[in-house]
Amino acid sequence: MVPILEMKGISRYFSSTDVLANDRVDFSVEKGVVHALVGENGAGKTTLMNILYGLIKPDSGEIFIEGKKVRIGHPNDAIKVGIGMVHQHFELVPSFTVAENIKLGIEPTRAGFLNTRAENEDVAQLAQKFGLKIDPQVRVRDLPVGMQQRVEILKVLQRQAKIVILDEPTAVLTPQEVGELSTVVRGLTKLGLTVIFITHKLIEVLDVCDRVSVMRAGRMVGTKAVAETDIPDLAKMMVGREVLLRVKKEPAKMGGVVFESKDASVADISGLAAISHVSFDVHAGEILGIAGVSGNGQTELVEALAGMKPLDGGKFFFKDKDITATNVRARRDLGIAHIPEDRMTVGLNLQTTLDENLIVSRYNQPEYSRMGFLIEKTIRNFVETVIKSFSISAARPGEGISKLSGGNLQKIVLGRELAGSPSLILANQPTRGLDVGSIEFVHKTLVEARDRGCAIVLVSVELEEIMSLADRILIFYRGMIQGELITSQTNEHEVGILMAGGTMEEVRKQKAAAESEVNR
């Protein structure tokens, strides 16, 4: 059978960054399958897809759709031959309804006036045809992210797309929404559509896709049927070496209590409690995992711990000292490090140099400034030490960082936060958006800090990450601690029950039931 899409010998060189983003790439997709395209950040998968969608012109190479050679110089050409793309960042009008967004530019009219009823009916029909449940009359701004993505997919489908490209579709979704998306994607292939699924989360490849192509450093490494491969194999193809997917670690050697939260509450913007009456402690030498579906108060908790949000009730103690009223700088000076959720806008200032990013938490210390003047020499020494000990090979002292990869940027944050051996590290989603190799590095670094006696609070919505790193797990649900589990005595299933709002009672029952099953 002729493949529905074939790309042959695609090359593209970017002179501005001196990168050969695609080097004679061959890529072929069968009709009616979900085909994953994986690779680390900067491997060239986005460039390849942008060429396919007409956003970038290749230097050389040919594209065939169902065996026929096509020229795609503009997204309009791509749409004409049946290619649709859902970008990672949605392009929707928030104040318009679902139907208005989908029919934007092709609104049905009657006597020159908008025919809203026909518009809604058309969209309802379209949604039904593809099995994507959605209310056409809801405003997009009132929809959760997963539903907004559905609107984007419908937009593509109503232009009669045969091939749907999904660019990192799960990056913004909650675990439940990921499940729904994979059902939607499956449904599309049943109707004869072909889906190209760009991702770097390998577990999704196994769950959702039929075939997988792996890219590395601008080249196509290989294409396999998903049934014939597994995660370690794919990870090796992506990174080019064996990857430790689950960090090796000894049991925690717990020390005394470093930090204690007593009955802490924070209200969010609307005045509702973002976290309410949260009490817990963290010991030296342990990783305390905070699990929970995104948006259950984790961000507010970390911001409160770091001193970026005041408490509306309760107290924080650091080494038995009340720090409730102290500000960010005072807490940093005490030895509290913070790896924020958003490294691009919060954790780093991409407009300035590496040096100035690295000194933000210590420029005030006597080694780094004297009589108001910054001491260039100590700063430069510090920068060089961080570059060396965190092997940030791409970064140079005194130069900008805006062009570095996500992995390297996170290394800069880690290097800054872990230097000066802090007693408490707040790590909020430290591997979000990173590729396999960088995740391995971050995990290893955190475990090493733990083994040096550092207390770590790790917030993550990736259950896998919590299970492999944390020694103890607190599960957050609607701003409260739903339960506490010891990692070595629990499993993902039990944590999942609590994440979904179940109680410790239910967990115990499940456990008892499972044990009686085994005994029988």
Binding site: T345, V360, G372, F373
Partner: protein, 367 residues
């Protein structure tokens, strides 16, 4: 200089340079349309802006430098505010406050040479600083937009100056109101007899250096720039950004106030009705065209002053082209800087063309 640093510098000055050239070309169009000699006009514009036949008697370069001096200060004032994330356009008002203070203390108090101007300069800087602190504190405490606040304060300062000249400080009942001439002890001396280019310019050069050192080599400057580039990052890192914002406004105001003092002590020796000639706004545009860098401001201020002078004493008197052409060229230049995307795109396509040729050549040699 390393090739990397050189490239960075080229990137920074390429667009302003192209904008200036485009502005001058458009001036040529204006000249041709009005039927005046093209080449001669350019020549006259430049010799009457930057020419220097005789240091003592006819040196227009000195006049240009004299006129650039207050622009340098107001430009630096804008640089300090912009770099710290405060979009303050209050230089005009702060400049006037500084000038009123200088004109008043120039005749109201009597001090010996050297001490008199120093006291006045400090007082004028304080006047500008306080006038700029107002929008700063409003922004930090109440979230009042500093752009709007400074516009309002500019209007108030203009009216206030006019009132001071017309009533309390008025020296005579002639047709144009002006304040008394300040004491000779307060004069900032000039370098040559017959020219008013003097010590003020030295202060301006020093101010350029001080601002560079302050912004890029001190803790406070670091705090201000970080808060200016990314408030979130500054907050996360524990930088006291409210303090940084207020400090930025105070320093910015002091520099604009200094401009007023230097203009009064070194050039006008009094204030008169219509004293405000848009120096604050020219400084603002000098800051933008100068890539919000003190050295850029220094160069652009001299260029602007030269264009205005060249148009005034060159084009107007010698070729009878209205002196407003000078302002028009500056307007064009600003317009072209605003259209920087146009230049960026053209530069990118030129670069692409060049590298493609190189690639082909390299490939040819390889094959």
């Amino acid at each position: 200089m390393t090739p990397r640093a050189l490239r960075k510098l080229l990137d920074a000055i390429l667009i302003p340079l192209l904008a200036v050239l485009s502005g001058l070309v458009l001036m040529g169009v204006l000249v041709v349309v009005t039927g005046k000699p093209l080449w001669e006009s350019y020549q006259i514009l430049f010799t009457s802006a930057f020419g220097c036949k005789n240091a003592a008697t006819s040196c227009s370069l000195f006049t240009t430098l004299e006129r650039a001096t207050p622009l340098i200060f107001t430009g630096l004032s804008a640089v300090v505010a912009f770099r710290s994330g405060m979009f303050s356009i209050g230089q005009e008002g702060q400049y006037l406050m500084g000038a009123v203070m200088a004109a008043y203390l120039g005749y109201a108090i009597h001090l010996p040479y050297v001490i008199h101007p120093i006291v006045i300069i400090l007082a004028s800087m304080a006047a500008g600083a306080v006038y700029s602190w107002i929008p700063g504190i409003l922004k930090v405490k109440l979230g009042v937009n500093e752009l709007l606040a400074t516009i309002m304060l500019n209007a108030i300062a203009t009216t206030f100056t006019e009132y001071m000249v017309q009533y309390p400080m008025r020296a005579d009942r002639g047709t144009t109101a002006h304040s008394p001439i300040i004491d000779a002890t307060a004069f900032l001396p000039s370098f040559f007899q017959g020219s008013r280019w003097g010590v003020g310019f030295i202060i301006a050069v020093l101010a350029v250096i001080v601002v560079i050192v302050y912004l890029w080599r001190t803790k406070s400057g670091y705090e201000q720039r970080m808060a200016g580039q990314s408030l979130k990052f500054a907050f996360y890192g524990g930088i006291p950004s409210d303090q940084a914002a207020i400090r930025a406004m105070v320093i910015s105001g002091a520099l604009a106030g200094l401009a007023g003092a230097v203009e009064v002590l070194g050039v006008q020796h009094r204030i008169m009705t219509g004293f405000s000639t848009g120096l604050g706004f020219d400084g603002l545009t000098a800051a933008i065209l100068g890539q919000t860098h003190p050295i850029g401001v220094f160069i652009v201020a001299i260029l602007f002053a030269g264009l205005r002078l060249g148009a005034q004493i060159g084009l107007q008197i010698q070729v009878h082209i209205p002196q407003e052409v000078g302002g028009t060229i500056i307007g064009f230049i600003i317009l072209f800087v605003a259209a920087r995307k146009f230049y960026e795109n053209s530069i990118a396509s030129v670069r692409k063309l060049l590298t493609r040729n190189k690639d082909i050549k390299a490939k040819g040699e390889g094959g």
